[in-house]
């Protein structure tokens, strides 16, 4: 209960004061859903575009999902890999020139872009032809795909060869056995040319493959259910078929088609039992495919890692070379920082399945390169053994990872850090700053420290409402410079000339104003404790619910409450399992 009280007061403190931002409860009309990165310019947050759906937790919204570009690629690799082998399939798909022509909008999570434009359809057709021709014109691939009958030169078995191929490959493409009309369509309308006999002539096979790879069941996750429409009430949920459940499970957690075990569970009906479903959910969640997919599609996007500033800009800043000192910055430091965060996810969620707290306070540095290891003050990690641990007095887990500190000026941007933690890790809606916020005149003291600058920048009374909360959160992270190095003393440079002006002792202390009291903060560890008291788990639950249900869910929605509880009491994997165990995960709303 303690965390509930803290969480509530945390939110109340923000929501109850006026301030320099417009609209504390809402964020913005940002249409592409890209919010503030840890070190980038202040941008509207993705959450808050629409009112979260309180009291309506059981809806997975939307039309049949179109595969994202990444899902399309993964599905092709897995689909072709069944016959050709994984390596050959990877090579074939890797060489598809048209793959990048599938448009991808800049949205928070890739699958939230469900537009179907002309370029999408053109690309799908072109890709189908490219794949079809590639396999049909390679005898080895053709044999692997269709069997020896396709290359034996015996025309008498061609018809059976095509029929069998349609049945077998079609079931994989459609992610369920073909219906009679579908089989007949492929055989009689596509494979058979104007009434002629069926043939394995390469161009005909290529045409057939191309048509199959453009099937609605391949491009989309077609979900029809089995119940009759007159048994369905408007806006109520209907159960998905076993095949549809298998596809939903695999695409949500793996970003690709169901594997053989899931297909067998769907075929046998075992997936429709509670025990069978939970067993598959646990297997799918624990699988490395989930690690690969969710790390990139969820964690990377949630934490806005792609919004981390380009290091080239930082290196061009006046005085940055002197500021970086003896740190030998390599070309890939930014990517190393991103990998450090994502490796922490893989390690604490999949390698050593742990709790949210374990991940947030992880003592490990996942720095494989010398420059990042130097920032941590550790030896580089070999990627295999137990990751090294930096000085625990200097690091406090996720909040202190250098990726979140990187900034393109020598002076750390404490306001950005505070806003990032509040918006992304506690799901606190800050709203966009007023249009004239950046141009408001202010007078910083001479050669200000990062903290002094932030204080001066937000000293106007109109700013106090928001920045009385943002600033202390940012101050708690003041021991890290713009490269993420720990510091007790801050080196202060002239912003224009780049010359070193002075050193200042870092002051990370602050007071987080809460309704009914205040909470002292002295360090990143203190800030972590605030998050661990509930807001952090609740926020991650909200983000997960948004990712999986495609609808922003209110903090008190059924899914968020269940997942947050799992994050408090169990591992992150347990929370992922909890999402798939929600009844709505296996249902779809009926709209007619």
């Amino acid at each position: 209960m303690a965390h509930d009280v803290l969480q509530m007061t945390f939110v109340l403190a923000l929501g109850s004061v006026g301030g320099c931002y417009t609209g504390l409860a809402s964020i913005s009309d940002d249409t592409d859903g890209i919010g503030s990165g840890p070190g980038g310019d202040q941008q509207p947050s993705p959450d808050g575009d629409e009112e979260p759906q309180a009291g309506n937790p059981d809806v997975i919204e939307g039309q049949w999902r179109r595969l994202t570009r990444a899902e399309y690629r993964s599905t092709l690799v897995d689909l072709l890999g069944i016959s050709l082998g994984a390596s050959a399939a990877q090579d074939l798909v890797g060489g598809l020139g048209e793959l990048e022509s599938i448009p991808e909008a800049h949205v928070l999570y890739p699958h939230l872009d469900q537009a179907v434009g002309q370029e999408h359809v053109n690309a799908y057709v072109a890709l189908g032809l490219e794949v079809g021709n590639a396999v049909a014109q390679d005898p080895a691939a053709l044999e692997a795909l269709m069997g020896a009958c396709a290359v034996d030169g015996d025309a008498s078995n061609d018809a059976a060869c095509v029929e069998d191929f349609v049945e077998d490959f079609g079931a994989l493409v459609h992610r369920r056995p073909l219906q009679g009309w579908e089989h007949a369509f492929y055989v009689d309308e596509v494979a058979r040319v104007e009434g002629e006999v069926l043939s394995v002539e390469p161009m005909r096979v290529a045409t057939l493959v191309a048509a199959m790879l453009n099937a609605p069941n391949f491009i989309y996750q077609v979900e029809l259910g089995e119940s009759e429409p007159d048994e369905r009430a408007a806006d109520e949920m209907f159960e998905l078929t076993a095949w549809e459940q298998a596809a939903r499970l695999s695409y949500r957690f793996w970003g690709t088609m169901p594997d053989a075990e899931l297909r067998e569970a769907a075929r046998s009906g075992g997936l429709l039992t509670d025990e069978g479903w939970e067993a598959q959910v646990r297997r799918v969640v624990a699988d490395r495919r989930a690690a690969t997919h969710l790390t990139q599609s969820f964690f990377r996007r949630w934490l806005h890692l792609d919004d981390i500033p380009d290091l080239d800009n930082a290196l061009a800043a006046p005085g940055f070379e002197e500021f970086s000192g003896d740190l030998d910055i390599g070309d890939d430091l930014r990517e190393s920082m991103i990998d450090d965060v994502l490796a922490s996810v893989r390690f604490h969620v999949w390698d050593e399945p742990g709790t949210y707290a374990a991940w947030l306070t992880s003592p490990h540095a996942f720095a494989r390169e010398n420059d990042l290891a130097a920032i941590y003050g550790t030896a580089p990690w070999d990627g295999v053994s137990v990751p090294p641990e930096p000085d625990e007095a200097e690091r406090a887990g996720l909040l202190t990872r250098p990726a979140f500190m990187l900034h393109n000026q020598t002076r750390a941007h404490l306001i950005h850090r505070g806003a990032f933690v509040l918006e992304q890790l506690s799901c606190t809606s800050l709203g966009a700053p007023p249009p004239d916020a950046e141009s408001e005149p202010f007078e910083p003291p001479e050669a200000p420290s990062a903290r002094e600058y932030a204080e001066a920048r937000t000293a106007a009374p109109a700013c106090a409402g928001c920045h009385s909360v943002i600033n202390p959160v940012g101050y708690a992270l003041a021991h890290y410079d713009s490269l993420g190095r720990y510091m007790e003393e801050e080196a202060i440079f002239d912003e224009i000339e780049g010359t070193l002006l002075r050193h200042a002792t870092v002051d990370a202390s602050g007071t987080l104003p809460l309704a009914g009291g205040s909470h002292p903060l002295e360090s990143a560890a203190d800030l972590g404790e605030v998050l661990l008291d509930g807001p952090g788990q609740d926020c991650m639950a909200q983000r997960l619910a948004h990712f999986f249900t495609e609808v922003e869910q209110a903090r008190d929605s059924q899914t968020v409450v269940a997942v947050a509880a799992a994050l408090m009491d169990g591992t992150i994997q347990d929370a992922l399992v909890e999402i798939a165990m929600q009844p709505n995960f296996r249902q779809k709303a009926w709209r007619h």
């Binding site: 939307g62 039309q63 049949w64 179907v116 434009g117 002309q118 999408h120 359809v121 053109n122 057709v125 189908g128 032809l129 219906q179 009679g180 009309w181 369509f185 309308e189 596509v190 161009m203 290529a206 045409t207 191309a210 048509a211 453009n214 099937a215 609605p216 491009i219 989309y220 077609v222 029809l224 259910g225 009759e228 429409p229 779809k588 709303a589 009926w590 709209r591 007619h592």
Partner: protein, 516 residues
């Protein structure tokens, strides 16, 4: 942001007292024969007819605040304004209810259009089909009013020497589209087709798109070496895949195998959207829209022979994808004929339903487009919106598609669209079974004889407007015909007069409509 569509045609405004107000004369807009040197392009005519009913002026037409000019005419105070185009979310809006894909309905194309509010029939129309294009005998199976059984305007135009002169052609006209009840079309042809007083019968309907295409090109494309080379195997394969994809989506969306009934509304739209894109890709592979060449023999041959059994031309079918496909193919025949100048006149009758929310046209109940939509437009906002949506679908697939395909160079640097006049009319006006405020649209400038880019309101202070007889006359005047070719029984304009319509608006009915 609205864009004003510039008026692009030479025009003479006729004042109430017959005074002529000239606006600047552009040499390029001079009519046939008046231009120095060269051969003037032919004028072509297309009539679109539909049973769409009860399109409310407030939704169908632009808002009245766009009307910036007024004049006295035939005892009326009439108004006009520039047509304006507003693009919202990729849709180009001509009015609150009429909009289309902005990549197709461009400002340049919209500038070739007119929207005419206040065109009224002089009779109570109620039911029927023929009067939509001028045959008043085809009033109704209920015979509320039986007017003279006369040719429709498309047939008079097709058989006028003013239109063809001594030009060679392979067909005087094309009459295509849905076969209506009693095996009829919207078009009627007189026993002597050039005599408006001769008794008319149904014009034969022909939807055999491939046969028509081949017939049109006979004699125009006689040099095999001059024919475009056939598609490569790769191009054929591409087309085959695209056609197969379209058929697959259509089978899932509309098929009778059971899945279609379990597709929710949102997902139906998903499939339809995808089919639209595939259809667009088919067009791209065929060379249009927008890709049609102006060279005779290089326009795409229809991929199928549509005929009368294709679901897209069956009047009561609600397969929207099929309707779009059929309309596209019918338009391709017109394009081939116009580009080769193998024909100059076409009429297309719309099937009844262009909305997937209704399963049938007749009958009663909410699934009937006639009963559940058309008859409800006076009282139900949902019905109004559905009717408008249905019309939009038809407009995009029919008139707009043809506008795009004819927006190709003609022999003198103008476009075939510039030299064509398209008219669109429906069964009813401002409400169902009502003869006033018909939803009239035109496109193309008839080779400079019709001024475009206007929204005109011919209603006298919002009351009665000008006569349909005058609109029909204007179409024929624009095609180069004289009043002697269409006036009957001493009535100005084209068609009968009745009772209260013998006044000032009747007397001007053989004139070109003002502002045009």
């Amino acid at each position: 942001m609205s864009r004003v569509l510039y008026r692009g045609r030479r025009h003479f405004l006729r004042g109430a007292c017959g005074m002529t107000l000239a606006i600047p004369l552009l040499p390029s807009l001079l009519p046939r024969g008046a231009r120095a040197g060269g051969t003037a392009p032919a004028r072509r005519f297309v009539a679109f007819a539909s049973k769409h009913s009860g399109l409310r002026p407030g939704e169908f037409f632009p808002t009245s605040d766009t009307l910036t000019e007024s004049m006295n005419y035939a005892g009326h105070t009439i108004r006009r304004g520039d047509l304006q185009l507003q693009v919202i979310d990729g849709q180009a809006h001509l009015s609150p209810g009429l909009f289309a894909d902005a990549s197709l309905l461009t400002p340049e194309r919209a500038a070739t259009m007119n929207m005419l509010l206040g065109i009224d029939y002089p009779i109570w129309t109620n039911h029927g089909n023929g009067y939509i294009l001028g045959n008043y005998a085809d009033g109704s199976e209920f015979n509320e009013y039986v007017g003279p059984n006369m040719s429709t305007v498309d047939q008079l135009i097709a058989h006028s020497d003013s239109v063809y002169g001594d030009a060679a052609f392979n067909r005087r006209y094309l009459n295509m589209g849905s076969r209506l009840s009693f095996d009829s079309s919207f078009s009627w042809q007189g026993a002597d087709p050039s005599d408006p007083t001769s008794v008319a019968s149904h014009t034969p309907l022909d939807n055999a798109t491939q046969d028509l295409f081949d017939e049109l090109l006979v004699g125009f494309v006689d040099d095999p070496d001059g024919m475009p080379s056939g598609p490569t195997p790769a191009e054929l394969q591409h087309e085959r895949v695209v056609d197969a994809v379209f058929e697959h989506y259509r089978a899932l969306r509309y098929g009778a195998h059971g899945d279609a009934s379990r597709i929710g509304r949102d997902d139906q739209l998903r499939l339809e959207r995808h089919m639209d894109r595939v259809s667009e890709l088919q067009d791209q592979l065929d060379g249009g829209p927008g890709g049609t060449t102006a060279a005779c023999g290089q326009t795409p041959r229809p991929s199928i022979n549509v005929g009368d059994t294709h679901p897209g031309v069956r009047a009561n079918n609600n397969d929207l994808a099929a309707a779009r496909e059929a309309q596209r193919l019918l338009n391709d025949v017109i394009v081939a004929g116009f580009v080769c100048d193998a024909t100059r006149v076409a009429s297309i009758g719309s099937r009844h339903i262009w909305h997937t929310g209704y399963t049938e046209y007749g009958g009663t109940g909410p699934n009937s487009f006639h009963d559940g939509c058309a008859h409800q437009t006076g009282s139900s906002m949902d019905a109004r919106q559905d009717m408008m949506e249905s019309f939009r679908n038809w407009f995009s697939a029919g008139m707009l598609d043809l506008m795009v395909k004819l927006d190709v160079p003609d022999i003198d640097g103008t476009t075939i669209l510039d030299n064509t006049l398209m008219i669109s009319n429906c069964q009813s006006g401002a409400r169902d079974h009502y003869q006033d405020a018909m939803p009239i649209i035109t496109a193309g400038g008839a080779g400079g004889r019709m001024m475009t880019g206007s929204f005109c309101d011919y209603r006298n202070n919002g009351e009665k407007g000008l006569l349909m007889n005058q609109f029909f006359a204007s179409a024929m005047l624009a095609m180069g015909m004289g009043p002697e070719e269409f006036e009957t029984n001493g009535n100005p304009g084209y068609g009968p007069m009745q009772g209260t319509y013998q006044g000032s608006t009747a007397s001007v009915a053989s004139e070109m409509l003002p502002f045009l």
